[in-house]
């Protein structure tokens, strides 16, 4: 085969020859392909090779079948059994995805709840209370306010946790309404040193000076009126917050467990486990 013929063949459409061989040409293309084969020996050789390869492929010997594929009674019984309960609802892939998602949500929720729990007393107590009952926010701050005022009354430094909580009785810390003058809190009923009172930093109900207190605690006590809750209510609210946290933790834990179960639960045997497409 000379070089000129090879160079000419390189510009020929081999795919057209393959399509001619596969009977996938219209009349015009067929004429073009036949012209190519008549003029180009390499195109003709290509067609001959395609035919020889197809014939060899069809005649390719196959090794003997390694076993008999008839079904045993046990196979038949197993195959007749109902599919796993999940199978009619969704396939294995979707089941795993859903299970993993649920487990992830449950785990994240449980972690968040746990972290919130351990982050600190007033913060978590308030957040727990908030989650449980939006209407019982103030008692948490009030719970902090009362000991602070007591400490003040006893001559100690006032605790900043009382910020924003209105006094429920004579032991309350000083509170200012917006624009109001700082007024010392009432003196301690037990006769504590009144001189200690001015050391208590005046604060406003809007929490402009909170002296490092947790904003959540402020949030809990921003309504001064709410600070009038009694100690009994505080205890109940604290218990309620604890219950709510436990409830959330249990819920997230259950979600995690359910998700994990869905994702990992093995399907009952169905043949050899692959899906069926017929």
């Amino acid at each position: 085969m000379d070089r000129t013929a090879s160079a000419a063949h390189s510009s020929h459409d081999e795919l057209l020859i393959a399509r001619l061989f596969g009977g996938d040409v219209d009349e015009t293309e067929r004429a073009q392909a036949l012209d190519l084969m008549a003029d180009c020996p390499e195109c003709a050789a290509l067609y001959a090779d395609l035919r020889a390869i197809a014939d060899a492929n069809a005649a390719m010997p196959i090794p003997p079948r390694p076993r008999d594929f008839t079904l045993t009674a046990a196979d038949a019984s197993r195959l007749r059994r109902k599919c796993h309960v999940w199978s009619p609802i969704f396939g294995a892939g979707l089941r795993r995805s859903l299970g993993s998602s649920l487990a992830a949500i449950g785990l994240a929720g449980a972690l968040l709840t746990g972290v919130a729990w351990f982050l600190g007393g007033s913060m978590t107590a308030t957040s727990g209370t908030l989650m449980a009952d939006q209407g019982v926010q103030a008692p948490v701050a009030a719970a902090a306010a009362t000991p602070a005022a007591a400490a003040t009354a006893a001559g100690g430094e006032p605790r900043p946790g009382a910020i924003g909580a209105a006094p429920s009785d004579a032991t309350a810390a000083p509170v200012l309404g917006p624009g109001a003058n700082p007024v010392p809190a009432a003196s301690a009923p037990d006769g504590g040193n009144p001189a200690a009172l001015p050391t208590a930093e005046p604060t406003t109900a809007s929490g402009q000076q909170f002296n490092g207190a947790s904003p959540i605690a402020l949030f809990g006590g921003e309504n001064g009126a709410s600070g009038t809750k009694s100690a009994t209510t505080e205890g109940a609210a604290s218990q309620s917050g604890m219950d709510a946290r436990l409830l959330w933790l249990a819920g997230f834990g259950a979600l995690f467990a359910i998700g994990l179960t869905i994702a990992l639960l093995p399907r009952l045997p169905r043949g050899r486990g692959r899906g069926t497409r017929t």
């Binding site: 061989f21 009977g23 594929f69 079904l71 069926t276």
Partner: protein, 210 residues
């Protein structure tokens, strides 16, 4: 075929008659199997297992894996016997087997292994007529090995289409339905696959002539 005559897929009258008879027997066996007779289904298995194994072996070039795929295909067929809507049982089983083979191919992609190990193994040799000259026998074995290797190197999609077209005699539309792709895609895979096969075998082209 240098005169440009395209491949024809005509079947003889005897073949058509034999196919019709076979389809009648298959249909009766399906009916029996649907009534719960396992023996009837196993008769179907016996009738078609050689053909299905030959088909799947060309798609999954490993004897053990091909056998697993065929077994899976028969399991699937038994499980879904009620979904058989008439027509050719052979084609229906063939479609199930091709799907099982493609599942196996996907598994093989994750765990590559040697292609057509039987052709590398001297303990198994393709059967040959007793009258065939030893030289011709050796030539045939060499051709088979070269072709098997070239087929194994083809992308599975191209190989599947070529096998279904050249060996099984499906037309483009049937292959498209089996493989769930467009007819044009099937045509492209077959034509390009053939050209790729030819390129792979160009150094052995003498093995395929005469």
């Amino acid at each position: 075929m240098a005169d440009g005559q395209v491949v024809t897929r005509a079947r003889t009258e005897d073949q058509v008659r034999a196919d019709a008879l076979g389809q009648g027997i298959d249909a009766a066996l399906v009916e029996e199997a649907l009534r719960g007779r396992l023996e009837a289904f196993n008769e179907l298995v016996t009738r078609h297992q050689d053909h299905l194994f030959a088909l799947v072996y060309r798609l999954v070039p490993d004897r053990d894996q091909a056998a697993d795929a065929v077994q899976e295909a028969f399991f699937n067929a038994y499980r879904n016997l009620a979904s058989f809507r008439g027509g050719s049982v052979k084609s229906w089983l063939g479609r199930i087997a091709v799907n099982a083979a493609m599942d196996m191919q996907r598994a093989r992609r994750r765990r590559p292994s040697q292609q057509y190990p039987e052709f590398e193994d001297d303990s198994w040799q393709p059967p040959a007529d007793k009258d065939v000259e030893p030289e011709s026998k050796a030539l045939a074995a060499e051709r088979t090995e070269a072709l098997a290797r070239a087929l194994g190197d083809l992308p599975a999609e191209q190989r599947n289409c070529i096998v279904l077209f050249d060996v099984e005699g499906y037309d483009y539309a049937e292959i498209a339905a089996i493989m769930r792709v467009e007819v044009g895609t099937v045509k492209s895979r077959i034509h390009r696959g053939r050209l790729a096969l030819r390129r792979a075998l160009i150094s052995n082209r003498e093995l395929f002539r005469g």
